[in-house]
Each structure stands twice: as structure tokens, then as C-alpha cells.
Symmetry: D2
Subunit: 256 residues, 4 copies
């Protein structure tokens, strides 16, 4: 399996994790370790940043794990840029998962504000990974704006519905010059494998692991399926055909 490179940094795992909704910090940490993930996103909370006693961050201190602060809760570019700067200072990383969602019900991303914030943050030296709709035109504009990767959604966030946007993800993957990370909607290991089979560079999973019956085992299942999907992509899948012949040659062994 080829390593993945984002902004010059190499990753051997193509599974990124989110840290929300877990039952406890210990469970979250165990799931992250079981997943083999090297990039883990954390939501900012001002209070914790101020008091410098964020249990979340402490529990993720581990040589193989890189933190990816996100701007969840930001409703426009201005709020997101402000949050990004707080995060950089507090967590000492210029990596950023950019999330701007003005709608509190579905948490869908705002194309215009995300593009504006990406332009600003790239100029400020951030490594920006924006969460976006599966919009191929927007992806190209984000590239021009200096994004480090694009993170199109597979289906509405938290819905576990999988790759409903597959037709658009295919176009994005075909056209993109930066890594494509599928974010939101991946509800099962088979969804994650399917994303990798399509040629996505990585996937980000959170809800499906955090709310599973056994989150640590589920993290391991996702790890295996992402690896399976990537190997399959590199090994080249056969093309589906309309109606095919059997794999067993129809030897007329009884009829000759």
C-alpha cells in the first residue's frame, strides 16, 4: 500500500478519526489506537484552551498521532479564521480541518465562506483541509486557493448512509491535484472500503465508530477495510459488466 502525502507529510494509515460522541476519553483513546490512525480531529472548546487542561488533548498525546483541530461551530469565514488562530496557538499545529456550517440542523457546509476562509488561512500559513459538499467546481477553486486537501462529504453528516455522492466524488477524484478525503456519511467498513476502491486518498470516520456496540473493535474493522479498499484500488478491480458468464468454465463434462 502506497503511503499518502499531504502537505509534505507522509501517512501510512489512510483512516482519519474524529473524536466526538465516544462514551469516555479512555474508550476514545483505545479506539484511536486500535484504528492505527495517524491524524485525529478534535473540536475546539475555548474554555479548555484557556485553562490548558484539556483531557481530550492529553489523552491523545502519542508519538504516532497528529492532532487536526477543527472549527466545528463556526458559521462563517470570520469565525473560522479566528478559531483557527486560537487553535494554532493552543495546540502548536498549523494543520486545520476547516468546517463552516451555518445550518445547525444538518450541519452542511457553506461553499462561499469555506472558499473565502481557505484563501485567508492559506495565506496565513495554515495547512487547510476543508469539509465541503461534493462539488467538483468548488474543489478546483479550493486548489487555486491553496488548500492542502479537499474533504467532500459522502452523505449528510452523521447519517451513516455511505457514498450517496459517488457520481460527484468520481469527478472530484478524476480532476483533483490534491488528496481527496471522504468526510461525513461513512457508516460501515464497507462504505470506507468502497471510498478507497473509487480512488479516494483517505476517509474520515467518527460517528460509526463512536456509537458502535464495541467502538474499539469497530475501529479495527475500519482499519482493515480501508486497507482492503486501497489494496483493491492499487490492484485494479475488474469492471462490472451487464450480464456475465460464470467463473467455472462450462465444461461439458457430462454431455460429451
Amino acid at each position: 500500500m502506497q503511503p499518502l502525502s499531504i502537505a509534505g507529510k507522509e501517512f501510512h494509515s489512510r483512516l482519519f478519526l474524529g473524536t466526538g460522541k465516544f462514551g469516555s476519553l479512555t474508550q476514545m483513546r483505545d479506539a484511536v489506537l486500535a484504528s492505527g490512525s495517524e491524524l485525529v480531529t478534535v473540536a475546539l472548546k475555548r474554555m479548555d484552551l484557556e485553562t490548558d487542561t484539556d483531557g481530550m488533548v492529553v489523552s491523545l498525546q502519542h508519538p504516532g498521532i497528529n492532532l487536526l483541530p477543527n472549527t466545528s461551530g463556526a458559521r462563517n469565514a470570520k469565525e473560522a479564521v479566528f478559531a483557527a488562530q486560537l487553535a494554532r496557538e493552543a495546540l502548536e499545529t498549523n494543520w486545520l480541518k476547516l468546517e463552516i456550517h451555518p445550518d445547525p440542523k444538518y450541519l452542511l457546509p457553506d461553499a462561499r465562506e469555506t472558499l473565502k476562509a481557505t484563501e485567508e488561512l492559506a495565506k496565513l500559513g495554515f495547512v487547510v483541509l476543508p469539509y465541503i459538499h461534493a462539488d467538483p467546481v468548488l474543489c478546483k477553486q479550493l486548489e487555486d486557493a491553496g488548500t492542502a486537501a479537499v474533504m467532500p462529504l459522502g452523505s449528510p453528516i452523521g447519517s451513516n448512509k455511505g457514498l450517496k455522492t459517488a457520481d460527484f466524488l468520481e469527478i472530484i477524484i478524476e480532476q483533483s491535484k490534491v488528496p481527496v478525503v471522504i468526510d461525513a456519511g461513512i457508516g460501515t467498513p464497507s462504505h470506507a472500503a468502497a471510498a478507497m476502491e473509487m480512488g479516494a486518498d483517505a476517509v474520515l470516520v467518527n460517528t460509526a465508530i463512536a456509537v458502535a456496540g464495541d467502538p474499539v473493535a469497530m475501529a479495527r474493522a475500519f482499519s482493515l477495510s480501508v486497507e482492503a479498499g486501497r489494496i483493491a484500488y492499487e490492484a485494479k478491480l475488474a469492471t462490472p459488466i451487464k450480464h456475465a458468464v460464470a467463473s467455472s468454465p462450462l465444461t461439458a463434462f457430462l454431455h460429451d
Copy 2:
């Protein structure tokens, strides 16, 4: 991962392989070994059975691999029973993948003849694994007839279309007292993972591995994805929901 038991025999891999369409016997053998499969189906060819020099069989002689002769080419119960007896004598196994398909174009299974042959073969002491349509009523009748497992198709054989019959497979899995092995149509590791996530006991894959760009790597990918799907099933997946909330708590960190 729990082991699978069929007719009293335990399997640690839940991936069964077919042996058709490979580029060479060496490639086939390497793919089987890479897959970790413990049950491999081979089509009968009368000539090879008579001369006892079947390269296929020789190349699969390995302590961890069990042969599962199939009756591919049989057009009715009578032909299938005859072929089964030849296979038992030649390969010294009473395990049998029962395939009866009168239609040479789509190779779809014949419900009535398969049921009749299963009844006869079970009485003759065979361990029968019949390839069938995803027909829940037929599955119960096969149970009554003494089948060791049922092998419903996911989609037309060789089509690589995945689990088109999912709504019926769910009913079969819910009702079955014997193991359910999904056969035919599985074209990608993500399809295999999805079958396992649904609660299938195993999957049989052939075309998707044999005609991949790199069959040995693809066999490894399927092995990982079957394990991923099974672990996910045992770890209990979250239920998909219509429109969900985000995994990051919407901390109003900027708005308080």
C-alpha cells in the same frame, strides 16, 4: 472473530474461493494462499478425473485448503447427482457445491432441481452446499432436505454487481438455521464486507479476484475486507438514521 462451523467442521476464514478464470495454475494457487481461504471450489472435468493428473487439484494440495468440488455444467438433478458421485470417488471428499443451471447464458440456478438433488445427495451422505436464487422459501425447504448450508446469489453470476438481492438475503439470514454463504455477484472487497456486515456467515468469490489486475493482491484485499465486515457485525453497527447530528458537539465556543 468467531470461527464458522459447517457440518461440524470449523473454518477460521470466512472467505471461500473459486478457481476459474485465473491466468495460470501458479497464479491461482498464489491467490488462494494470499486469501487465507480454507475452502476452495473446483469444477469437475471428467477427463482429468479419469487420468488422475489434474493439475488443478495437485496445485491446491496444501494442509490448510479443503477442496469443494462443484457440479457446474449440470442441467438437472440427475446429472448433478451423477457428477457428485464421480467427484466423491475421485477427490475423496463428500463435500459438494451443488450447481444446477439449465440456462447457458446467465447460469442462474434451478430451484426445483436443486431441491430434488439436495434431498437425494443428503440421503447419500453428502455435505451439500447448494448455489441458489435468494429465495427465502427455498432456503427453508433445503434445510428440511438436509442441506449443510445455503449459497444464495448476490447478483447474476460474474456480474460483479454486489448485493442486489440484499432485501431477500436479510430475510434468509434472519430465518436460516444453517450457515448462509453469499455466492455470485461479489465484485469488490466492499461488497464482501457489506455481506458480512449483514450477518452472512461467509462469502464465495471468484471472478473479482481472478480477473483483477493483480489477483494475488486482490485476494489479500478480500481477506481483509471479509474480516473487517465480520468484526463489524460482531461489534454491532450503528443504525443508519434519516438526518443526523454532527459527531462534533456544537460547542458554542465562539458564541458565548
Copy 3:
């Protein structure tokens, strides 16, 4: 729109209706008339047959409507043949919708018993329309047995899930020499249109109309959609393509 011929009888509507689950006989009758259907299936009830005062049958007496008694409730061929003979005597029609479903939970059809009953009933002079799984091999056997049409299911009965069996329905339609009527699972006018677009000869709808907010209006909607789907089939649909060009010619009107 070409007329449909079954067993020598011409139909101008390709929408068949079921009569279960309506709120009242009046509502049922109004929906049938609004649908324009010429073939309406009714479940047998021994008592009503004996007393000859079946409100169901009386309410459907209309010059354009033909009754199609069904054997719903029969668990095997023997019961179905007996019920068929009762129906022929009581309703003075040799047309029969053959339904054999041993499983009271999902009401899925029994392939073997349906085939056996069709053979017997055809010899007894019945015009048999059997409800079956979308099993192409069974369809050919029913043809050989003298069936007048085949009625494969689109998805589990009452599920309103549409054409989940589409891959198999396509094969059935391609191979069939008798009319193909899609039965069970059609939940919306768009499902019915899709069945007709594929080349099905007719559809049978019940639950989706009977339990709609306004069953009479819904019957009209199905009537229109079946006509739309049939016209589209006859007018030849364009083939879906992977990624297509726009319908507006890209006149470089601003760029020359």
C-alpha cells in the same frame, strides 16, 4: 399505446389492481374505476362464496372490470388447486392468480409448489397467472407448464420498495414468451413507470393505492404513470451514459 393480450384477451389498461386494505367497499370501487383497470384480483373467502352475498364481488360488477380470483392463503399446490376450483364455480371465471406462500410472515412465494399447481391447473383449463420470485429459470418452467403470464415480485410484498429485483426482471423480460406482470413491492407511481420503461407488460398494485392518503387520487396517479412508462418504452429511451455533455450546445457566444 399497444394493447396487452393475455390468453387471447385484450387489455387497454396495463394496470391491474388488488382489493385488500381499502377503508371501505365504496372507496375500493371508486379507486378501481379511477384507475381504469380492467383486471382486479380478489381474495377468496369460503363463507362469502357459499352465501353468494359477497359485497366485494357485487361492488366490482361493472362492464369494464374482469375479476381475477386469487388463492391467497394457500400453503401448497393441493390447497391452491382446491381453492381454484371453488373460485371457478363461484365466480364463473377460469382466470386465476395463483398465490402459494407457506410463510405467514413475509408471504413470499413457493417456487416448487407454484410450478406443480400451474401444471395441474393448466391441464384443468385455467388461465393461470402465478405470483413468483423474480427467478428467470422458474419463469421458463412455468411457460413449459402452460402458464398464461408470469408475475414476478419487485420487492417483498407490501414493502413499497419498488424494483429491487430489477436485474432479474430484465432477464425475465428478455427471455419470456408470455406477458410479464410485476407484482408486489410497487409503492409509488414512479416505481410503476420504471417497471413499464423496462418493458414489463403490466403491473399489479394494491397496498400503495389502498393505504394512500387519498386512494382514489392515487389510483389516478398510477394510471397516468403506467401509461407514461409504456409510452416511454415504445418511444425508446435514451441509454444512460457515464458522464454526458450538456443539452445546450456550448456556443461560445461570449468568447468569439
Copy 4:
């Protein structure tokens, strides 16, 4: 069927047509008339506008037909606004289908430029109907900008793949205060019916009619299916259920 109102104008047909790809102007005109459409979009061509001898426009002069000039070919807001002004002068209508697609291969819409142009055009007094990605956040922003309707795509333009964006269209329909017209990707009458069943206010169809074997018959089929889908929406469809009971009551007529 309730009439549709856009910018104060009432429409009795909820099917809008495009005029590209037809074999001849006569065929196009006949198809438009057969469809019953009252709103027909035409691409601008500078030359025709200048010489005032546009056969397209002449052939669509009919009391029931309103022209909807589109800006197909515009690559940004500036070009689109310029084209809109030309169109208003030439065709004497302030209605405009706004299309901005910088990518000549897939012709996917540009969210940022479309929003910018809508703001400008609304101020200039245009009735703007923008073609957009199925992006719920953008739809709300377009409302704020004064759009008369939103036209989200169902799948990539010209692909005939139907409502691949259904999960997002549902959110858009739930949230929108302006009419929602599904544009692009509708390849069959069943797709159009499904859009209407979801609660879309109208659909725009072009390729599927223009390249059909018989475009005039296909236009009629779409007209019927749009009506069917709308009636079904107003009559309230039954909710799909996981596994349902039969519509025929299981009268134990043989078992008592």
C-alpha cells in the same frame, strides 16, 4: 393538481423543457407542444440575437409558451450578467435561467459565481432561476439574494442517471421558501415522477426527450409522469416499511 406559482406567474404544467439536441426545429416544436410545457429554455446565440432571425425563437412563438433564456456558456458572473442583459433586450423577458459552468467537460455549476450573479441580476429586476448543485446552504443564500426559484441538479447534466442527489434534494425541499425545480439528470418519466413525489415543484427535462427514439411521444410520456408524480404527492404516499404484510387478508379459508 395545484398550479405552480413562480414570481407571481401561474403554471399549470410542472414540466419545463430544454430545446437542445433535437433533430430539427419542427421536431422540437412538436415535442414542446406534446409536453404541454409552458416554460421552455433557450440558449443564447449572439448572432441570432443580432440578426433577429432566430428560427428557434420563431418556432416557439405560441400563446401558451413562455421563453426562458439561459446563459449556457457563461464561465463566471460577469459573463452571465452581460448575457442576461442581451437576452432581456432581444427576447423582451426578464426571466432568466442562470447557468454558470467554468468546466467544459461536465458543465457543473459554479456556486460562488452563481450566487454573485443572482445578487446582481435580482437587483437589476430579473426573475432568476439558477442552475446549481444540490447544496442546501447555497439554496438558502440564493433565497436571501432574491432568487425566484432554485434549480438543483439530480445528477450530472446529460447523464440520465436520475435523482442521485435525493438525500440533499429532500433537505432543500424541506427548507425552501421558493419553488424547487429539479434540473439535469432526469432521464426517464419515472425519474420525473419520483422528483414530483418527493415534493419538487417542477422538473426541467431536455436530453431525455430530445434524443429519444420518438421525441414527441416521449414528451407526452414525461407530461403524464409529472402529473402522476404531483397527484401522488398531493394524495400522500404510504411510507415504505421494512417488511410488510400482504394486501390480501390472510383469510384462513382453507384452514378453518
